[in-house]
């Protein structure tokens, strides 16, 4: 598999203005995102997650370091506007607030908006919009008014808009944060399906630890640096390090951690309550 995104030693600071000094946000960040993978990014507010997302979409430019999109160096001197457009056509983004990213009053018109701006012929747009709405399970709402939808439905429309533009990689910047549990599940189910069935590369920024356990890989950021990078099992097993970074671990992991501290022989990389109970029952039986 090849890397759709490769970052080498990225640094970024928001420029100062007059009396206000520049605010450094990212320090020497390096990683690769494999095509077709599902990566969760965790970190407390202000740790640089969203800034990183904006760099990857080329909404912002890094001060230092090299960013490759699909193997092409986007930070090189002789990069053309055409190259940037081309890279932006690969990476799409879904934001946090469902009410801030819908532009049209009718669902299908909103989904078509991005394609229209790309100058795609209308019969093709029709087809893409229908397919995208099918993928997020919103086809029957095609002619509904966007303002009457629930938060979860609005986010799925935003996702459909990105899909219609045929993005190979989608960055979700806390796209579930403002939703209720039902809406959150709708969106997470959609994200997982896009990744597994459509092969779309997913970068999911979140505060919900249970969402991160669904990913193949978890990157943890703190104060503009990557402090952990591994499978959910590997990352959440290091509960103390996460607590130190102001994050939580899933309740199952916390309980297993406490059992282990007390001398029981348990694995820490378990997130399913049933499996967690089995592991504990087994360890208790062993100890007797």
């Amino acid at each position: 598999m090849s890397a759709i995104i490769k970052a080498e030693h990225l640094s970024f600071a928001y420029p100062g203005d007059g009396d206000t000094p520049a605010v450094p946000v990212l320090h020497d960040v390096s990683f690769e995102i494999e095509e077709g993978s599902f990566v969760a990014v965790l970190g407390h507010n202000g740790c640089g997650k969203s800034t990183l997302a904006k760099l990857l979409c080329m909404i912002l430019e890094p001060d230092e370091g090299i960013l490759y999109i699909n193997g092409k160096d986007m930070t090189s001197e002789d990069i053309t506007d055409e190259d940037i457009y081309d890279a932006r056509r690969r990476v799409g983004m879904v934001f946090q607030n469902p009410d801030n990213q819908l532009v049209a009053t009718i669902v299908e018109e909103d989904v078509a908006f991005g394609c229209e701006n790309l100058g795609i012929p209308s019969e093709k747009i029709r087809k893409r919009v229908d397919e995208a709405l099918d993928t997020v399970g919103m086809r029957k709402y095609a002619r509904h008014a966007t303002h009457r939808l629930s938060g979860g439905q609005k986010q799925r429309i935003a996702i459909a808009g990105v899909l219609a533009m045929r993005r190979k990689c989608i960055i979700f910047d806390e796209s579930t944060a403002m939703l209720d549990p039902g809406g959150r599940k709708e969106v997470m189910d959609t994200i997982c399906r896009l990744n597994r069935e459509e092969g779309i590369t997913v970068i999911h920024i979140t505060h919900y630890m249970n969402e991160a356990t669904l990913a193949d890989r978890v990157i943890v950021m703190n104060d503009g640096r990557i402090i952990m990078d591994g499978t959910p099992g590997q990352v959440f097993s290091c509960a103390d390090k996460l607590w130190e970074a102001g994050l939580d671990v899933p309740q199952t992991t916390e309980l297993l951690w406490r059992m282990k501290e007390a001398g029981y022989n348990v694995r820490l990389d378990i997130f399913d309550p049933e499996e967690c109970a089995s592991e504990i029952a087994k360890a208790i039986a062993e100890k007797r």
Binding site: N45, H207, M209, G246, Q251, R258, P273, C276
Partner: protein
């Protein structure tokens, strides 16, 4: 007597229209003074409608709302006084910040109440302190604060009015785990020190379990359960059937019982579970 009591409240949106929805259906409920009460229920269960009954933003179609034993709609012209006594912090309150400095934003409520200059200054200082804002934040524009600080500034604006009931709709939504804990701990400390009755609406079962004395569950415009977190969460099957989730740790406790390790079903925090399993101090 409860601090606020609801007697047979019914409320219908769009009465007579094709979209008529009965949001509250004969709700009777008492909120005990000086407690933190959690209100849970899935979207559309009537939580937000109920909250708007408490300070008279909505008037019930039938039934009575009693504040300190007095019907709040007895003299409709005095409903403004009720709104000073029952402070409502809406969802994402930071979107409602508007003034030039944090200080004047917090002072907006007290000013409208007709407090004198001296008392306003005092109320603003105290509220800011309760919300965890420092002196240096007060002179700043609210728009230069971080997300968590903005939320706390908005909270201070309501606390400054010195309400005897504080109602918060999803106070921790969208915050990271550290900021969640900080704001909820602030609210709990404030409640302890001031004796205010606090009502929190939330979807987070974990937060409810950790911070509330009493939990009220709503479904289809009715109250379906009331009790301590232990009482409510031990009825996990009913919660699940009402489209609600239970904390992961509660599920672990249930699964453990099936596997012959019985630590009880009234488990809702990791501390509790560890205590029962290991005999550790809670």
């Amino acid at each position: 007597m409860g601090k606020i009591e609801l007697h047979n409240i019914t409320y219908v949106y769009g009465k007579g229209a094709p979209y008529e929805i009965k949001a509250l259906d004969d709700v009777t409920l008492s909120f005990e003074e000086g407690k933190i009460i959690g209100l849970i229920g899935h979207t559309g269960s009537g939580k937000s409608t109920l909250v708007q009954m408490l300070n008279g933003l909505l008037k019930p179609d039938s039934g009575k709302v009693l504040l300190d034993g007095k019907d709040i709609w007895e003299e409709p012209k005095k409903i403004r006084d009720v709104r000073f006594k029952v402070g409502l912090v809406m969802q994402y309150p930071e979107y409602q910040l508007f003034d030039e400095t944090v200080e004047s934003d917090i002072a907006f409520g007290p000013k409208n109440m007709g407090m004198n200059e001296e008392d306003i200054v005092k109320a603003v200082r105290e509220a800011a302190q309760f919300a965890g804002l420092k002196e240096k934040h007060l002179k700043k524009s609210p728009f230069d604060l971080s997300g968590g600080q903005k939320r706390r500034a908005a909270l201070a604006g309501v606390i400054a009015m010195g309400p005897s009931v504080l109602v918060l709709d999803e106070p921790a939504a969208g915050l990271d785990p550290g900021a969640r804990r900080r704001i909820l701990t602030r609210i709990k400390d404030y409640q302890r020190q001031s004796g205010t009755t606090v009502i929190i609406v939330s979807h987070s079962m974990e937060d409810m379990a950790m911070y509330c004395d009493t939990v009220v569950v709503m479904n289809h415009g009715r109250v379906t359960m009331t009790g301590t977190p232990a009482e409510v969460f031990s009825r996990a099957d009913e919660l699940l059937s009402q489209g609600l989730d239970v904390p992961a740790i509660t599920k672990v406790a249930r699964a453990l019982r099936e596997k012959g390790v019985d630590i009880g079903l009234d488990i809702y925090t990791v501390n509790f579970a560890a205590h029962r399993l290991l005999g550790e101090e809670v």
